[in-house]
């Protein structure tokens, strides 16, 4: 109350009374929102009614399915670090967002989702398009709200944005009944949030940082293992500085790709199930693992009882529940990746500690030996396009500077292995949830956030068909987004599992019946191109990337390839199948 009084005095004039729907829009503008991905329906019409008059400030992108809106918002958020915003109606509108919400939750993406709800008086009556949205989304949001009065809206929206983007970022959902949108209330936007139980820790405990630095200096076989957290925290420069000061080998997770320059001499490439042989060997033989903003996911560690048996673990993460969740940390430091890295760098400098340049000579020699023993295999063919060759050509044309989004599966792993990302926020993929259909809408979201950048959706033929209707959205938005379909006519990763572990019995993985993707593109008013032979590849990619607007490149690749190396599920990281 005191805060409201203070606000009133500051305003000198009485606050504006407006209806709930308008308050929503005003609050979004206060939060710096410029783009909303959404789909209308009965109970959100009051908000759409307001949006029409605010078109120049709050651009609304009309999607073709609510899941697409979520992935677009995620692409937007991942590319910028800003909060993505989604607006959908009640019932099916809300349930259609759930896959995207779960995806954002797993990959810690800041998104605010506004869902309409049936009027308060009808809640619980099985009303038309009623569903318990907060109940359904509770386990896959960082927090969610059911608004009961319009006057609650400003504080809730302020808090939702705060929660979404601070600490470990994540999706936050606000469910707004229709009558709340119609109610009048004063628009008083709070300056601060009142959440006494929510205080994310920024800086690491000083004593632990000191211990960690001492361990790094003493280690003889150290590895720096970085995850998506370094990208969320914008800690790229700090990671580079720490790695360079101590000559640490750096291995990123799938989500950490681009958190360290891939072409750097200290870069080992990705670790884990489809990681580099030498990265997995290094982590397995390490005496010290320094994990920053990573969560020891099962796709990274393999069998936990065989993971890094000789290593001490330093684990830095903004989320205390990630520390010692899967692998027990010897030193667990809760804090923001960039802040803690800066603390570590300051500690290194303050001590004026002489770093023995030769201390890691043997370790690096061993890593180079592993590299030479099992380099990444690139299969070659004169007759058929090899996926790895496709990615190398893509890299040649984009020089590692493009933003590339992927779905989940073989194409995703090959890209992670073969496309050296130069920097952060270029690799946008569905990591934790592994959602097919993520890549293309995410690319559209990223492209709308960065119209000047080259944005490419690198997807499979299976995944693309899960959200291909967003071609309409892309064409309508005039987006300059390029879609490369790595078309092997199969659900490749599932086929690979059947090939290796189910006696080559290929159940339900053949995608015969795929549409003609070139015609599909043209049907939506986009450009469609196809390459079926290695001789055509260069030209099609070059033309496709140079053609303005939405371009679908159907690249027909070899059908029966597996991604190697591979650590079978449940095996130790050293038990890699190399080919």
């Amino acid at each position: 109350m005191a805060a409201i009084m203070k606000e009133l005095i500051k305003h000198e004039v009485a606050p504006q009374i407006m209806r709930g729907a308008r308050i929503v829009c005003e609050a979004l503008m206060r939060e710096g929102v410029d783009t909303i991905f959404g789909y209308p329906g009965g109970v959100v019409l009051p908000i759409y009614d307001e949006l029409l008059s605010l078109e120049d400030k709050l651009k609304h992108i009309l999607v073709r399915h609510e899941q697409g809106a979520m992935h677009m918002a995620e692409g937007y958020a991942k590319a910028t670090g800003k909060v993505g915003v989604v607006l959908v109606t009640s019932g099916p509108g809300a349930t259609n967002t759930v896959t995207g919400i779960a995806n954002a939750y797993m990959d810690s993406t800041p998104i605010v989702i506004i869902t309409g709800q049936v009027p308060c008086a009808l809640i619980g009556n099985d009303a038309f398009q009623e569903v318990d949205t907060v109940g359904i989304t509770r386990p896959c949001t960082k927090y969610n709200y059911l608004v009961r009065e319009a006057r609650e809206l400003p504080a809730i929206i302020k808090e939702a944005f705060h929660l979404a983007q601070t600490g470990r970022p994540g999706p936050v959902l606000i469910d707004i009944p229709k009558d709340v949108c119609m109610q009048n209330a004063p628009f008083i936007y709070p300056e601060a949030v009142a959440a006494p139980g929510y205080e994310p820790q920024t800086f690491g405990e000083v004593e632990k940082v000191k211990q960690a630095v001492a361990k790094m200096l003493a280690a003889r076989r150290p590895v720096l293992y970085i995850g998506g957290g370094v990208i969320h925290a914008n800690a790229f420069d700090e990671v580079v500085e720490l790695a360079e000061s101590l000559a640490l080998p750096v291995t990123p997770t799938l989500m950490g790709l681009g958190g360290f320059p891939s072409g750097h001499p200290l870069a080992l490439g990705m670790l884990g199930m489809h990681g580099m042989y030498w990265a997995n060997m290094a982590i397995s033989e390490a005496d010290l693992i320094v994990a920053i903003g990573a969560r020891f996911d099962d796709r990274v560690t393999g069998a936990l009882n065989k993971f890094a048996p000789r290593a001490e673990i330093i684990h830095v993460d903004i989320d205390p529940t990630s520390i010692s969740k899967n692998v027990r940390a010897h030193i667990g430091i809760t804090g923001d990746a960039r802040s803690v890295l800066r603390q570590m760098l300051a500690e290194l400098k303050a001590g004026e500690i002489a770093i023995d340049k030769n201390r890691l000579v043997d370790w690096w020699a061993q890593i180079e030996g592993w590299k030479a023993y099992a380099p990444l295999k690139v299969e070659k063919s004169e007759d058929v396009i090899m996926p790895q060759h496709l990615i190398h050509e893509l890299h040649r044309l984009t020089k590692g500077d493009a933003i590339i989004t992927t779905d989940v599966g073989q194409h995703q792993m090959w890209l992670a292995q073969h496309y050296p990302f130069n920097g952060p926020r270029q690799n946008i993929t569905s990591g934790g949830l592994g959602t097919m259909g993520f890549g293309f809408p995410a690319a559209l979201g990223a492209q709308l956030a960065h119209p000047e950048k080259q944005v490419i959706a690198f997807v499979g033929d299976g995944g693309f068909q899960m959200t291909s209707q967003e071609l309409a959205t892309a064409v309508l938005a005039g987006a300059n987004v390029k879609i490369i379909i790595m078309n092997n006519n199969f659900l490749g990763m599932v086929r690979q599992l059947q090939d290796m572990f189910y006696d080559k019995k290929y159940a339900s993985v053949n995608l015969s019946g795929n549409p003609d993707f070139v015609k599909l593109a043209e049907a939506y008013g986009a450009t469609g191109l196809r390459a079926t032979h290695p001789d055509e590849l260069r030209d099609v990619l070059a033309r496709g990337l140079a053609t303005p607007g939405v371009v679908v490149m159907d690249i027909v690749v070899a059908e029966n390839l597996n991604v190697y190396p591979m650590v079978p599920a449940g095996a130790g990281l050293k038990e890699m199948i190399l080919n």
């Binding site: 969610n144 529940t321 969740k325």
Partner: protein
């Protein structure tokens, strides 16, 4: 092993299912749950009894603490604490001997008779969960008809220094 977790949470609708959901999502059984207001307005206290090994409970407490509206969560079992629960036990008696046996047991367990009839008693028992369970077990052969239990509440004991003062060391 059994653990008692104490949680302070902002009193808002939807917080209870959120906390319960953290247990159910992990296949973690809640043996008892007590929710009550605290001295502070708009803050509720939860006492949750659950089973699990140390790492499981440690993770659970961390996850509880991470919740936006949770002000604090800790495993009381690790601390020097007092824990109590209450039960109503409906016992049937068929003879005067049985009647005497029930009354004797109740008195041994410091339990109270809160209702009585020709057919039997309702006994109010308070104690830690072992005491309450002990009384129920002892009464069973006599014909326990119904039991309702509150679930545990727990509080940390006074600091050692203060305790020593009271007990005269």
């Amino acid at each position: 092993m059994k653990h008692t977790i104490s949680v302070l949470v902002e009193d808002r609708f939807g917080e209870l299912p959120r906390i319960i959901g953290l247990f159910s999502a992990r296949g973690q059984v809640i043996e008892s749950l007590t929710v009550s207001p605290t001295l502070e307005a708009k803050i509720s206290s939860l006492t949750i009894v659950t089973s699990g090994d140390e790492p499981t409970i440690e993770k659970m407490v961390k996850v509880l603490n991470k919740q936006v509206r949770v002000l604090s969560a800790f495993d009381v079992t690790k601390l020097d604490h007092i824990e109590r629960e209450m039960a109503f036990i409906k016992v049937k008696v068929n003879s005067e001997t049985e009647r005497q046996k029930v009354l004797n047991l109740a008195s041994v367990f410091n339990a109270k008779v809160v209702d009585a009839s020709e057919e039997g008693f309702i006994i109010e028992a308070t104690g830690d969960c072992n005491t309450v369970r002990g009384l129920i077990t002892a009464l069973k052969p006599l014909g326990v008809q119904e039991v309702v239990r509150t679930g545990a509440v727990a509080i940390q004991r006074l600091p050692e220094a203060a305790e020593k003062m009271v007990s005269g060391f």
